[in-house]
Symmetry: C2
Subunit: 793 residues, 2 copies
């Protein structure tokens, strides 16, 4: 927790009030619109690199120091710049993938080395009297300021700013300033683009024309056959006597500025880099493209790029901002989370949104199901065009998914568990291929997107295909019993501590929705249905199977169960498990975990959220409370969902703790894995936890409904959300909720079940019903020992 | 099928009558006591190498040609001479083994090259007018005879004989003769011991002393730290002018004989080789040991070794022979099967009996559960000392199994699924670690051995430990439900086309027997119980759990089911599966197989056989008939068990076909894998199919019972079996069965439920009751399309 202090000026992220008010975890006290690093912590370099990543979804640049050392795990990534690795198995079986795609770090555009009277700037030498870095969530820039005295006693003030333009894929811009502090000094600045150790055969040159200060560098991948290149140009503001020159070395292109600075005099270098990849055989086109991109960037200039970036973010926040009254930490975390979700998705890419965005190589840069289940439902309401692009990406991999379905003996399309281009890259099928819910998750995201946006053009282009081809898998995957009930045997649900179970409730209910959506969409888009070869018999089968879907229940109590055998299994020995034995999969074999009642992450509880109409309120409460007792949250894909359902069933205090766990996952490194990259789905989950949890928002079936209710300790919540071209704002404060249309046409809504409509200049204020005293009195559910909601550290 | 011919002399395996009467599969027509190769088939060299392997359980020598080329996959193996390989996984998880043991081919003692007037003997050149190899099942020798004209027109007759002494571990002997055929010729014979390409750093020398014709060669393994060596000595009978010398090359020691042979004159070379391994640091001791072993062998001489070998086999056949009247092919196959089972086990080793014996590197030389379930129950009755040694081997690995149980969070001991020294070498846990029945299988083998032999000394030394430590695993693995029923969830039974199921019937019933045996044995051997820390509370728990074991049933019919969900699963689409898609695991993912009703190998049916008292006869019949419809026998561990149970439930015609499939697995290469080594468990199964199937022998609970009944087409069956130091003979012919004691004290028996006793000179003849006409009339169960019993090819 931050120490007591005066509240900072919320409009100035560089407000000196808290610049030395160090936060326990190395971050400064929370600012509403910025994240500021406290004193440089050598132990946390990699974690802070992740937090300070700038990205636009096509290019991600980790927040490493310009001078290169000290460093954590620096890296710049391009969406789709991947390498192939062989996958080998001790006992290979049919259908196992034999190569894996992995995101690789590409050329480094950030390097700027500084020599002060011949001595290299290194924060570990000399005397660092000031050092601060600030990620500004409104300007989309990363700022750095430092004051350093070299070992020989020369003093400089150095500043940098960088940005990855949200609307210019492939561009990176960096401003670097050096000022002589109190006395004249000779300085040399070497600004470079560096080759990647993970790529091959660097070819560097400085280009032609004496007016340029820059050059270009190209490399290639080995197995995946890609050319990866960067072009760079510098704008230098320096004393007239400065010597500026560019040269190429085998592994870099460097622009060097040598000059003497008088006391207080400034040297400023502005660097623009264009980065990209293409198939090797298109490497010449790539060069042309990067040259054009760079020329555009140079023409726009640093100030222009800064202005553009701010404008994009102003637009974003105008439709997406969430305000939390009464919890400054949460306020900051909520905006930090949304900022990174936006960054991960902003530039529609044709490569999906990886689990870590482009903030690190965790999970090898793969995209999983959580993009559809956690990220797209947020984007649908705050930046729907990004969700559309992510769905187009899924659609692009449909041919590969159809081929994979054939290989597996299924019908329709079987999307890969983890992938970059569409190729299955999972090497453990019980938690990969067997997790067939992924198909239904994709369909669910497609349908939610259509409901949220009304984008019929995208439906014709992609969404109907996605929904129908995934629906077709269930016909083969499932089984009708002698009573006509429909079951799905031997599959793995979201919970990775059980596998190959019969009748996973989440899978069954998502399959049901998938089948029904296929029927609805083919009726609504008959041309697409015809192109897909859907006939009446197939639709009748979809309907029959959907209506017959079996929901497993605890035989003793009748409460919905995670799967057919879930409630009968032996309970995990939580009392006998030490805190250091978590995550359990690091200390126990899957063999033991699968046989017990122990849940890694929201599974049935996720179904309670995504298929709310399939349960009564009491069923939700009972199922949630039981799940709490066996859920250990060894996954980051859990706390947000638990928050949402806890809020729905009246456990608001518990919901508040899960909101925090979701929102602070990276700012407080709650999983110890932030160094590998941010948990984008958990960050998206923070928005879900606030909006679907406290706000009670549900968007199933094309209707938007709310059931806001705040926990103790929060005095107000305001959020904005888009719906079919309109944008509305919901303010919850105490016992009232205000609904206001910000733009677009009237929107029909529900508030705690009551229907109403808001229109321009016709806000609606409605009372928030108080919780039933019996609900309030219900004891807070217990979690397994040591596995209660994680506190900020 | 063999073509029509006169019946050969059963006493002379070299009977010329059928020497050119080639069998369709490259083997000559069946001889009762020999297997003879027809014309050399270049396509079947590897398969015949497996069939003609000589072994004593410590050393195995594949039946390759002495001259080295052409060859299939030649190899000489020493039990326990293994190499270590890293196991890598795309997604490693807790408890996965990271190294694997693999049997490696050691030094080759068989090489003899012949130069005829300077031209090397190669059966692919010149003219091969005669070529025959014969495996003699009574002498335990492999004979070869060939008549060859070199490309230059020189004619020779060459013979070889080899043996691997059944009672001299580490010794190999080979006699090689060359005769000038019709005209004089210069010959040069080079007899060598060759280094293995799979081993490192060969060190060769010829030893000291002019009287020797031989030398020694040593190598080492890389990861497993073993020294592997061979010593060789030759006895040469040659014209007085012959030049005999030995020399060492970097990769071999060679003894060369050069001489001129007059027409009809003979050159004979007798080679004795001792082979062995030891830890690297004991390599000097190894040399001393091998020198001694060799000296003994040389002293005994070729004729002495041949006599010894015959004596051992006479003793073996006197107690183990099976005679089948009316099917010459089956007669040969039954003896071939028993011979190889004996060879695989004859020399009690401290390394277990691998799935392929020492006949090839299939399954990397690993020992699995089938040793205990298929091989030891045969050895108990035909060569019990070998079964005792195999059980001692399991006992030696108890410390490793206890450690593995701790690692997996289990109690007691968890034996590895596949291993050489006791280290888990399985790289796919759902069909390895999860196949926990292995523990109960070991216990079952231990108890059957005690019942069959009455060996209380071994019980005190090893068997009680094995039974109690395996029993302890069930307490942790299982679960008591609210009704007090005991279940084992999430495990894999014998059927490898289902995995991680709840309540596998075989596992549950074997666990029940294991628990009960632990109670019985600890009461009978209290000192061992005390040493194991068994107390009354633990025994009470064993008893309670055993009594509560749940037997799953088909909910619709009440018939026992393979597992809790087996009968509910969707049936595999057998009609839609092409013959070339078998084995299914080569054409479909485990994901699809596990979710369907399709059985790779006897599982519930194995339980019907091993736990006969747990079912009524009608339950057995119904469960067997259902299993027939879904069992595809993609494993060799199935036909024999199906034969046994088919016979018990009255499907004698079907039983006869399964007997054939089990017995001919290798002679007819029914699985296409004989080249990798013989299927020792299936060969043992051939004995079980005859004795437990047609003979109806059961040996559970310490009682020996029979229920003989022959299928149509078989006029008689005679087998011998040992029981607690006695040996009896059972003759079944038509409607009578004769029981006769061959040696030992009186034995109490049952015949079709009727109790009786046989004693010396007091044979008993009893009528075989005819089958109930209703049973006879019952339709033969259908197998999946294309998966009926395999016919000899």
């Amino acid at each position: 927790m931050p120490s007591a202090r005066t509240r900072p000026d919320p409009h100035d992220p560089h407000d000196p009030h808290d610049s030395h008010d160090s936060h326990g975890r190395g971050l400064a006290a929370p600012h509403a619109w910025a994240v500021r690093e406290g004193p440089l912590d050598p132990e946390r370099l990699a974690q802070v690199e992740s937090l300070f990543t700038l990205s636009n979804g096509r290019c991600g640049v980790r927040g490493s120091l310009e001078e290169g050392d000290p460093h954590g795990t620096p890296g710049t990534y391009l969406s789709g710049a991947f390498e192939l690795w062989p996958l080998t198995y001790p006992e290979y079986s049919y259908g196992y993938p034999t190569v894996q795609e992995r995101l690789v770090p590409v050329l480094d555009p950030t390097r700027v080395e500084l020599l002060v009277a011949g001595e290299p700037l290194d924060v570990r030498t000399g005397e660092l009297t000031e050092h601060e870095r600030v990620l500004d969530l409104r300007s989309g820039t990363l700022h750095r300021h430092l004051r350093w005295t070299s070992p020989a006693g020369h003093r400089v003030v150095v500043g940098s700013q960088r940005l990855v333009p949200l609307e210019r894929p492939g561009l990176v811009a960096l401003e670097y300033t050096v000022r002589a502090d109190g006395a004249p000094v000779d300085v040399e600045v070497r600004s470079a683009v560096l080759a990647s150790e993970h790529l091959h055969e660097a070819v560097a040159d400085t280009g032609s024309g004496a007016e340029h200060h820059g050059g270009r560098l190209r490399q290639r991948t080995d197995g995946s056959g890609l050319a990866v290149a960067a072009h760079v140009e510098h704008d230098v503001l320096a004393p007239a006597t400065a010597d500026v020159r560019s040269h190429a070395l085998p592994d870099r292109v460097v622009t060097t500025v040598r000059t003497r600075l008088e006391a207080g005099e400034l040297l400023r270098l502005r660097k623009v880099v264009s980065l990209g990849w293409a198939p090797q055989f298109e490497r010449d086109d790539l060069g042309t493209r990067l040259a054009g991109l760079l020329a555009d960037g140079v023409r726009t200039g640093w100030e222009g790029l800064v202005r553009e970036q701010r404008a994009v973010l102003d637009d974003f926040w105008a439709h997406a901002d969430v305000e939390v009254d009464g919890d400054d930490d949460l306020q900051q975390a909520a905006r930090f989370a949304l900022f990174h979700v936006f960054q991960a998705a902003a530039q529609g890419t044709d490569r999906g949104i990886p689990a870590k965005g482009l903030t690190g190589t965790g999970y090898d840069g793969h995209t999983f199901w959580d993009t559809e289940v956690f990220v797209l439902p947020v984007l649908n309401h705050v930046w729907p065009q990004a969700a559309a692009e992510a769905l187009r990406w899924r659609h692009h991999m449909l041919p590969a998914a159809r081929e994979r379905a054939r290989e597996l003996g299924l019908a329709g399309a079987s999307f890969p568990w983890r992938t970059i281009t569409g190729r299955e890259s999972s090497g453990y099928w019980p938690a990969g291929t067997a997790a067939v819910h992924l198909g239904a998750d994709v369909a669910d995201a497609a349908v939610r997107h259509l409901h949220a946006t009304g984008d019929e053009e995208l439906a014709r282009e992609a969404l109907v295909d996605l929904v129908v081809e995934t629906a077709r898998t269930w016909v083969v995957l499932g089984r009708e019993d002698s009573d006509g009930r429909f079951h799905v045997d031997g599959v793995t649900g979201p919970d990775e501590y059980s596998a190959l179970v019969d009748d996973n409730a989440y899978t069954n209910l998502m399959a049901q929705a998938n089948l029904r959506s296929a029927v609805e969409l083919t009726k609504r888009f008959p041309a697409q249905a015809e192109a897909l070869g859907v006939d009446d018999a197939e639709l009748a089968e979809f309907t029959r199977l959907a209506d017959a879907v079996h929901l497993p229940r605890d035989p003793a109590t009748g409460v919905p169960a995670q799967d057919g055998g879930a409630r009968q299994r032996k309970r995990w020995d939580f009392a006998g498990t030490r805190p250091d034995q978590y995550p359990l999969a690091d200390s126990f074999p899957y063999f033991s975990l699968y046989r017990r009642q122990v849940v890694k992450q929201a599974d049935l509880v996720l179904a309670l959220y995504l298929r709310p109409e399939a349960f009564t309120w009491e069923e939700k409460r009972d199922a949630f409370e039981h799940a709490e007792g066996v859920t250990v949250r060894d996954s980051s894909l859990s706390a947000a969902v638990q928050a949402v359902v806890a809020a729905e069933v009246g456990h608001l205090g518990l919901a508040a703790e899960y909101v925090h766990e979701a929102a602070f996952v990276d700012l407080h490194d709650l999983r110890g894995k932030t160094a590998d990259g941010l948990h984008i789905a958990s960050l998206a989950g923070a928005w879900l936890a606030l909006v679907a949890g406290y706000g009670g928002m549900r968007d199933g079936g094309g209707e938007l409904s709310f059931a806001p209710r705040l926990p103790d300790g929060l005095s107000g919540l305001r959020f904005r959300t888009r719906h079919r071209g309109s944008c509305l704002e919901v303010r919850v404060h105490g016992d009232r909720a205000d609904y206001r249309l910000l733009d677009g046409g009237p929107v029909h809504l529900r508030h705690h079940g009551r229907e109403f409509t808001i229109a321009r200049d016709e806000p609606v204020t409605l009372p928030v019903p108080s919780l039933d005293p019996e609900v309030v009195a219900r004891p807070r559910p217990e979690q397994p020992a040591h596995r209660g909601p994680r506190r900020r550290r």
